[in-house]
Symmetry: C2
Subunit: 212 residues, 2 copies
DNA sequence: CAGCCCATGTAACGAGTTACATGATTAA
DNA sequence: TTAATCATGTAACTCGTTACATGGGCTG
């Protein structure tokens, strides 16, 4: 039962439907929590049945009706209790870095490509966080907002999100570049070896990535 | 089926038992994958039954025997296939940042304390990654190692781990400090208000954190 | 008119977590 | 002698993910 608190926290700044919440989880919340839409629908139902949130129906024309939810007093109390408990250590699972870890034993071209793609999406997220930060602070300048602006919680997590994605960008970028250069170096060696000794498996004495 | 690749990748640099692997997951691998020891034991059993790793018994005296595992050819092939597939988006779950997100609606003291603790553990991890990097590159200087050292995969993930924890340190540190200052400002206001108007709930017009 | 956006829900399945069980050695 | 380290395993349970189901409106 850990998702519930993330949902409650995300619902604090307004009324949202499951669908809208899924979007929020995809952008602003994505840097500290991951959840697929289905999880949110079921969690919202559960939270409502426990009285931590209340839903109300919004009749729409031209598109399906929806139910939007607000955190109740009991929900706030639950968050307060949560804030008093020791936070469990963060959980992270990054397939792409598993690939990097194993790159000495696999071909690297596909991994490099994915690193470059990820670097680009990270950059896009930086821009997105930037816009969100501007929206959150409104007319106020950052220094003043940090001192007395409100709500400060979402602002702080966005700040962290921006830094995190900036870091991701630089990291993925430079990793991709480095692996590219190393792969090129191995190719060069092969070329040189082919000229000097055309019969043997010349790359055997190098530590470069294998190309099976 | 995602843990398997993380286990295979971690096993690449030598023979490890489940117990040893758990330690590795706690340090070097922890910046891109999280798993509790029990998961590793069951996954190792499964991987062995599928022929992706082989185990051999080590008889020890003075302590329990253990089984250490090595990645097989089939295991490498599995990693190669894995490297060719699109990596799924990273998964992150950070309770502490959920607390920060909700901090406008809860008391902040406990959260601040945890942020400061986390900042310290992040700093310790930076030092740990630093030592691991030195060990990995041995006599070689970093520039040379990055160009032609081996294995480069673990080195790159460690580099990223160090940056990540450095970032965490700074972020958690400054967030804690900022929340501290804001909490102090609210206390000051209360004091000033108590002097000028002793009867009313004077903090009602401020945007500062509530203290329920 | 194909495909995406809005909007939600149920059910099955797969993965992750916790609890429990065992037991010897060594350091404080 | 209390606790920690080493070392593994089974079973129950909770949580997360995927598949499937529905259906109108809007865009290219």
């Amino acid at each position: 039962m850990a998702l519930r608190h993330a949902v409650l926290a995300a619902l604090l700044d307004g009324e949202y439907s499951g669908y809208q919440l899924a979007k929020i989880f995809d952008i602003a919340v994505s840097n500290f929590w991951h959840a697929v839409p289905q999880q949110l629908y079921t969690e919202l139902t559960r939270l409502e049945s426990e009285g931590l949130i209340t839903g109300r129906q919004i009749i729409q024309q031209g598109r399906p009706n929806k139910r939007v939810f607000t955190v109740t007093g009991a929900g706030i109390e639950e968050l307060e209790r949560f804030a008093q408990t020791p936070a469990r250590p963060g959980i992270i699972r990054e397939d792409l870095l598993v690939m990097v870890q194993a790159v000495d034993h696999t071909s690297s071209a596909a991994v490099i490509k994915q690193l470059e793609e990820r670097a680009e999406t990270a950059l896009a997220k930086v821009a997105l966080f930037e816009r969100t930060l501007e929206r959150l602070r409104g007319e106020t300048d950052e220094e003043t907002f940090l001192r007395e602006g409100s709500p400060i919680g979402p602002y702080l997590t966005c700040l962290r999100g921006r830094r995190f994605e900036q870091e991701n960008y630089e990291c993925y970028r430079s990793t991709a570049q480095l692996l590219r250069e190393r792969a090129a170096a191995v190719e060069d060696e092969k070329g040189a070896d082919a000229e000097s000794a055309t019969d043997s498996d010349a790359a055997a004495d190098t530590d470069g990535p294998e190309t099976p």
